[in-house]
Amino acid sequence: MLQLIINSFTSGILIAMVALGFGIIFSTTKIFHLAHGGIYVSGVYFFYWLFLVVGIGFVYSLIGALLFTIILAVFIEWLVYKPLLKRATNPNIVLISSLGVFIILVNILALIAGNDIKIFSSTLAKSIVISNVIITKNQLNNVIVGLPIIILFNYLINRTELGIKIKAVSNNLTLARVVGIRLQNIRYLVFILGSLMAVGAGLLKAFDTGIDPYSGLNITFTAIVATILGGSNSLKGTIYASFILAFIQNISEYFLSSQWRDPVTFFILMVVLLWRTEGILKYKIRLDEK
């Protein structure tokens, strides 16, 4: 049982990172950025390329990968989402566009690097054993690296001026623009932040169980559920939800099989959607605003 909790905690951190990234993009731009999963893998593959193929050191590869992520995020926002913004498109269409971007990214990676899973350390991970609980080195990594990042992120959003601007845009777009906040810059910023979070999680995962072009999709799905469960406007909620989901996923893997992980996650999503949006039907929204 304790093992389950520890596993949940460490995998929950990864989910939380991706979910925070996704959540901040969604709450600020209202875009359902499914390509998040694509950026997740792209950054990792780029790191892999720099580190193992080009052969510059670990730190430089890391910096390179992060830079690449920033450029990629900005590029996608500029190329795909910005034009759609001008035309007030149906959010479903934006979702499909995002999906299209995801497909392109993933398939380019598959073309270049193949569909198989790549792992970074080939030696079996060292682990610590405390009483009858196993903590692998990678799980420790998750906590040591991931937790501070999450805390930093929180600090950024809640305490800095930039973060407040971001919150302003996500709360009330028109008012934020009236007050002088440059919307486009905030959008770029938010994509950059979100994508960095995702790639961070991706790198941690790659060192752990490896990564293949499609792993982004799975964790993005979980992140989506976490974001909606926790409330797209609430950072804390998203974080709690991520841990809860990680716990549920681990439980379902333990008691059922790993194949049930996704269906269970999405079953929760359905329940949440139906339950939470209950107040929205029956025309409770001001009619004239619909």
Binding site: N90, L95, F221, P263, F267, L274, L287
Partner: protein, 290 residues
């Protein structure tokens, strides 16, 4: 020659699928990522019934009934309760849950091993076992579909379905119940997807869960988006592009192992271009606005 027939049959199956989603998304305005659920249920139910000795028409009818009663009701409930983006997410959840069920419920569906040896249709004591004879059957159904939708487009009912898509509240204000029209569009969608599923199962003689994943649903949706909705040319075009694209690549002597990925990239690119520059689809009359 056989290969040509093979392509043609597949084209027809996908045309019917495109029409089935068209009535739900194009006319009904409900963006759905769960079309493969209807498709898959149709395939599996038909397969099981055919293997138990029932004839094709009977199996088809029962499959339609089961599909509408189970899946149709679920989606109708989702459509009643959720709007727009949340509806789409819920259909995504439904799709993934469905996949989990057919993958894991080995007693019913044989899980990942799939169902083999599905017999070809026997109608009026004639067995349609050769490809050409199957082509007759599939042509029959595809013509049936096209003619049905051609005439359906002219009825008041289809206009009311479109009206519900445009402004549900106004429909209510005029004294009509939008739920009725939603139900009709969902039911029609299910019925035609079932036909596709039945044809697929019977033709390929082997089905397994991997044909009915979220990827399949996404592809069906992109067919409708690329081809356009609101008339009969759209779905035909969308299906044609999807089916003929790999053939086109093959014609250009593209290396096979790269072809699958490249095809997806090309397809997603087309999708993004259409959304950007011709949002109503190549031949569609309707553009999704917010």
């Amino acid at each position: 020659m056989n290969y040509l027939i093979h392509i043609l049959i597949f084209l027809q199956i996908y045309i019917i699928l495109a029409f089935s989603l068209n009535i739900k998304t194009g006319y009904g305005g409900m963006f759905s990522l769960c079309q493969a659920v209807f498709y898959g249920t149709g395939a599996y139910v038909t397969a099981i019934l055919l293997l138990n000795g029932f004839n094709f028409i009977f199996a088809l009818v029962i499959a339609i009934l089961i599909n509408v009663l189970f899946n149709g009701i679920v989606v109708f409930y989702l459509a009643k309760r959720l709007r727009e983006l949340y509806f789409t997410l819920a259909t995504l959840a439904f799709q993934i849950i469905f996949y989990g069920i057919i993958y894991n419920w080995i007693k019913l569906t044989n899980g990942p091993y799939g169902i083999t040896g599905i017999p070809k249709p026997i109608i009026c004591n004639i067995e349609f076992s050769s490809p050409i004879s199957f082509l007759l059957i599939s042509t029959f159904f595809v013509l049936l579909t096209i003619i049905f939708f051609y005439f359906f487009h002219k009825t008041y009912l289809s206009k009311m379905i479109e009206a519900t898509r445009d402004d549900e509240i106004w429909v209510n204000s005029l004294g009509k119940n939008p739920n009725r029209y939603k139900f009709v569009s969902i039911a029609l969608s299910v019925i035609f997807a079932t036909i596709s599923g039945a044809l697929y199962a019977s033709y390929i003689s082997y089905i397994d869960p991997s044909s009915f994943t979220i990827n399949e649903s996404i592809l069906i949706l992109t067919m409708v988006l690329i081809g356009g909705s609101g008339n009969i040319y759209g779905p035909i075009t969308g299906a044609a592009i999807y089916i003929l694209l790999p053939e086109f690549l093959r014609f250009l002597n593209f290396p096979d192992h790269l072809a699958a990925n490249f095809q997806m990239i090309l397809y997603a690119l087309i999708l993004l271009l259409i959304i950007r520059f011709k949002p109503s689809g190549l031949f569609g009359k309707f553009e999704f606005k917010s």
